[in-house]
């Protein structure tokens, strides 16, 4: 079993607490005063307003593309998938409900599913398993390496979230990386990494709980 990261255990002093549903939801990007909220834009898209989709694209294309790129590692394919994802947002907007979650969470869920599907199709054709087998050793921390100290500024959601994730023990980051960004099952991770299945499960559970708690803390602070 992985050790629990001491930095995260110390987190309550920085404001970790139980989220109140009455508190405002964290903004993923900074909005100019008077700008429509994400939910406003989704309502616009639901009513067929193409300009609302245009604004949502401007707001989130960078985040959605980063996620897709992190999964499929190919810029051209990531652009194609980005376009497909926003087309799907347009076409499936009626299925979005603000009561069940935030627009960004919905978009990211959709983008991840599409990117992992594309990755699996690619693997089926190119037998990319060899590359994936080498990947855990090569870049276990890859998804937080993009963050540099000089990019940090107070209140930056991305940096705060990246800090939560990068504070996890490396072993937990590795299994979460494989599960979230490669779409692997616990068994596939165990087989890929030669880690016992029970350990994979424990690491996933601990790591996800810390990220979940970190996300709640972040929402409380904004």
């Amino acid at each position: 079993m992985s050790a629990v990261d001491p930095n995260l255990q110390a987190a309550p002093s920085s404001g970790l607490g139980v989220q109140s549903s009455a508190k405002p939801v964290a903004a993923a990007v900074e909005l100019a005063p008077g700008s429509p909220s994400d939910v406003d834009l989704m309502l616009g898209i639901q009513s067929g307003d193409a300009d609302a989709l245009s604004q949502l694209y401007d707001r989130y294309n960078g985040i959605v593309k980063a996620l897709i790129l992190r999964i499929i590692h190919n810029d051209t394919e990531a652009d194609d998938l980005l376009q497909e994802v926003f087309m799907e947002i347009w076409n499936q907007a009626k299925n979005f409900s603000a009561e069940k979650g935030k627009p960004l969470g919905w978009m990211v869920t959709l983008a991840r599913r599409r990117a992992i599907d594309a990755l699996r199709r690619k693997q089926a054709y190119s037998r990319a398993e060899e590359r994936l087998q080498a990947e855990p050793e090569q870049q276990p921390l890859a998804w937080v390496q993009n963050v540099t100290e000089n990019e940090i500024r107070a209140g930056d959601t991305r940096v705060l979230m990246a800090k939560v994730i990068s504070s996890l023990p490396e072993a937990q980051q590795q299994v979460i990386e494989l599960a979230f960004f490669q779409g692997m099952s616990q068994r596939e991770i165990a087989s890929q990494t030669n880690i016992p299945l029970g350990t994979v499960k424990t690491r996933l559970e601990l790591g996800l709980k810390k990220i979940y708690d970190g996300l709640k803390e972040l929402k409380d602070e904004l």
Partner: protein
């Protein structure tokens, strides 16, 4: 399954990492805990957002948006056969 165990499973569930043999017990607990379970699962979908927000935004090709908006204006809404994403 205790609620704490259910919460652990729910975090795995939303990222698709529950094994098939764990799903049955998870679904039983989900039924047992009712709306508290559904609320928690919905909150767990925020994990997707957390992972995305931890990444440095990537620059998309400028042509992508033009292509997207032209498709949107040409085709109208609701013509894709894709299944909706859960959230």
């Amino acid at each position: 399954m205790s609620f704490e165990e259910f919460q652990n499973c729910a975090r795995l569930y939303v990222i698709g990492a529950l094994e098939p043999e764990e799903l049955q017990a998870f679904e039983a607990a989900r039924k047992q805990y009712g709306s508290a379970a559904e609320d928690f699962i919905n909150q767990c979908y925020g994990l997707h957002e957390a992972f995305a927000l931890s990444l440095k935004p990537a620059k998309a090709s400028a042509a992508i948006k033009d292509k997207l908006m032209s498709m949107v204006r040409e085709r109208g809404q609701g013509q894709s056969g894709s299944a909706p994403a859960k959230h």
